[in-house]
């Protein structure tokens, strides 16, 4: 593990460059954050009980979803406006399998991720042949197709959504129905996915992906099959969003078409932009700040969306590259 940049201050050989291709895990504050998250189930009762445990799980899930979008949007330069579709596919796979009587997490969760990766592969294979605004529109179109499919499919709840009999069964003494256990399983998977993304971005694949974002034409001209690399990244991001969908479906034991509506895709984009497009921590910070703001503001006023908009506006004006860029600028000063 020591071969990847853990901290921005890590020493490196003179002959190896440091550039925006490098992404530090910043242990200085990510370890305390992890410790806080590990202790949270004991802290939650002090501030108001189990409700906050559910909120924390929800924030973690959205941190995963937003990070998976950041992988293609921020690091691959693919502005996908249909990312919520993959959350929906993951969630619906859980719902459909539950109706068929299959509820083992060891079967359902990997299958759901696989199905989502397959959807992303097909959607990506078509969408990635287009560029710019057309790519945005075509990904949106695919997501809306899936949304209307879910709305019109009465066998799986249609418009009303689908209630699950309960959370998936994990066995091995892990009772996912227990909120605390579910929280820890969620935390484990989100951290695992995050570490994987960190490794990937600092590996050859990540360098390739980011260089494609920087100059796609030149990447093709030095011998990279650009389309193939983008498609692989798109499918992986889809699979990770699928995992977020699996967790979200389990969190509330409920699946609904609204999970994949276009405004959910917009929400994920706002989180990424808020946190920092192309920053390792962008998706996480964006999800945490957005959902906490929503929670706090909606406590005080029913016009919370207005206030949230004002806060987002202020952030975008003060830090056009997201909150992470603000932190980094401070760090360098």
């Amino acid at each position: 593990m020591a071969d990847a940049p853990l901290n921005s201050a890590a020493p490196s050989a003179d002959a190896v460059p440091r550039s925006l291709l490098d992404h530090a895990l910043s242990l200085r504050w990510s370890l305390p954050l992890l410790a806080l998250l590990l202790l949270f189930p004991w802290l939650a009762p002090l501030i108001g009980g189990d409700f906050y445990l559910g909120l924390a799980a929800r924030i973690l899930i959205f941190a995963l979803a937003a990070s998976s979008l950041n992988l293609i949007l921020g690091f691959g330069g693919m502005v996908s406006f249909g990312h919520a579709a993959f959350i929906g596919v993951g969630a619906y796979t859980v719902g459909v399998l539950a109706q068929a009587g299959i509820s083992s997490a060891w079967v359902v969760w990997p299958v759901a991720m696989g199905v989502t990766a397959l959807f992303a592969l097909v959607i990506g294979a078509i969408s990635l042949r287009t560029q710019g605004v057309y790519f945005i529109m075509i990904t949106l179109a695919f997501a809306q197709m899936l949304y209307y499919l879910a709305v019109s499919n009465k066998a799986y709840g249609g418009d009303d959504g689908l209630s699950l009999p309960g959370r998936s069964i994990a066995g091995f003494g892990l009772d996912l129905a227990d909120d605390r256990t579910f929280y820890y399983v969620t935390l484990f998977l989100v951290v695992l996915a995050f570490v994987l993304m960190w490794r990937l971005l600092n590996a050859r694949f990540g360098h390739t992906l980011q260089a494609i974002r920087e100059n796609e034409t030149r990447m093709e001209a030095i011998g990279f099959p650009v389309y193939r690399f983008k498609l692989i990244a798109f499918s992986m991001a889809g699979a990770l969003a699928g995992l977020a969908g699996v967790l979200l479906a389990n969190l509330s034991s409920f699946v609904s078409p609204s999970m994949m509506q276009w405004n959910q895709s917009g929400l994920l984009m706002v989180m990424v932009i808020l946190g920092g497009v192309g920053h390792l921590w962008g998706g996480v910070i964006g999800a945490v700040v957005f959902l906490l703001l929503e929670e706090v503001l909606s406590h005080y006023t029913i016009y919370w969306q207005f206030l949230l908009g004002a806060v987002l506006l202020a952030v975008v004006l003060a830090a056009p590259n997201g909150l992470m860029s603000l932190l980094q600028r401070k760090g360098r000063a």
Partner: protein, 256 residues
């Protein structure tokens, strides 16, 4: 005569009613510096686009290193040893010189489908990138972000990236574009130094440079190669003089 490394056979490219490449014929021999000249709009860049795989020809064949590559994609051609540089500088502006070159090396050295091992551990690849940087005269700028280099240095990096792909044949699209006298001089020296290392097919407007560098010159007019031969032959070719060089053209004499 040695076998041609690149053979262009009756290549045709039409844009609507315009025939941009009109049954073009061209042979580039192993090891030579071959210059492609012609007036503006003659179709030089269109031809380069087809050779590199950015544009598909409507008819004809491109044979490289003994194989027909007409239907291969750009990255497949690069892997066979045919790489290009751009007339309008196309580099990774936000990345340092070393990253620019190391990416080109990465393309040909093993798979880039590596998801776990940190790329920065490949110390050898960065050392090789530094060697290429030195080759193109950028050894003092290894950690410099490419966008902050001078225009001349960016053009050197442009050639360096193509060189780092390990190409047998480099297609250089106006390497001296927009350069001052001193920068041009440096580029001529650089291209001279590549002689023997790889074959060059060079599109260039700087006639002085062309006549100093080229072993063979081909003249493209209205999509057709009207003449191909040693600089001395081209200089005296009546059709070329009429079509392009102008009757009063006298390039600076340089002893070979």
């Amino acid at each position: 005569m040695s076998a041609a490394l690149l053979r262009v056979d009756h290549l045709v490219k039409r844009f609507g009613g315009l025939v941009a490449t009109d049954r073009a014929q061209l042979k580039v021999h192993q090891g030579e510096i071959h210059a492609l000249i012609g007036p503006n709009g003659a179709g030089k860049t269109t031809l380069i686009q087809q050779l590199s795989g950015a544009l598909a020809p409507d008819a004809g064949h491109i044979v490289f290193d003994g194989a027909d590559i007409t239907s291969l994609s750009m990255h497949e051609r690069v892997h066979r040893g045919l790489a290009r540089s751009y007339q309008i500088t196309s580099i990774f502006k936000r990345l340092p010189v070393l990253d620019n070159l190391a990416l080109a090396l990465q393309a040909r050295q093993g798979s880039s489908l590596r998801f776990w091992r940190a790329a920065r551990t490949e110390v050898q690849r960065y050392a090789q990138a530094a060697v290429v940087a030195e080759r193109v005269g950028l050894d003092g700028q290894l950690q410099q972000v490419a966008g902050a280099l001078s225009h001349g240095q960016q053009r050197q990096l442009e050639v360096g990236i193509a060189l780092a792909t390990g190409a047998k044949l480099l297609l250089l699209d106006e390497p001296m574009a927009g350069m001052g006298a001193e920068e041009s001089e440096r580029m001529v020296t650089l291209l001279q130094s590549l002689r023997g290392e790889c074959t060059l097919l060079l599109v260039e407007h700087d006639m002085d440079a062309v006549f100093r560098l080229a072993d063979t010159i081909s003249v493209l007019v209205a999509g057709r190669v009207i003449a191909s031969g040693a600089p001395q032959q081209i200089r005296l070719h009546p059709e070329v003089r009429r079509a392009y060089l102008g009757d009063d053209f006298e390039p600076t004499e340089v002893d070979a």
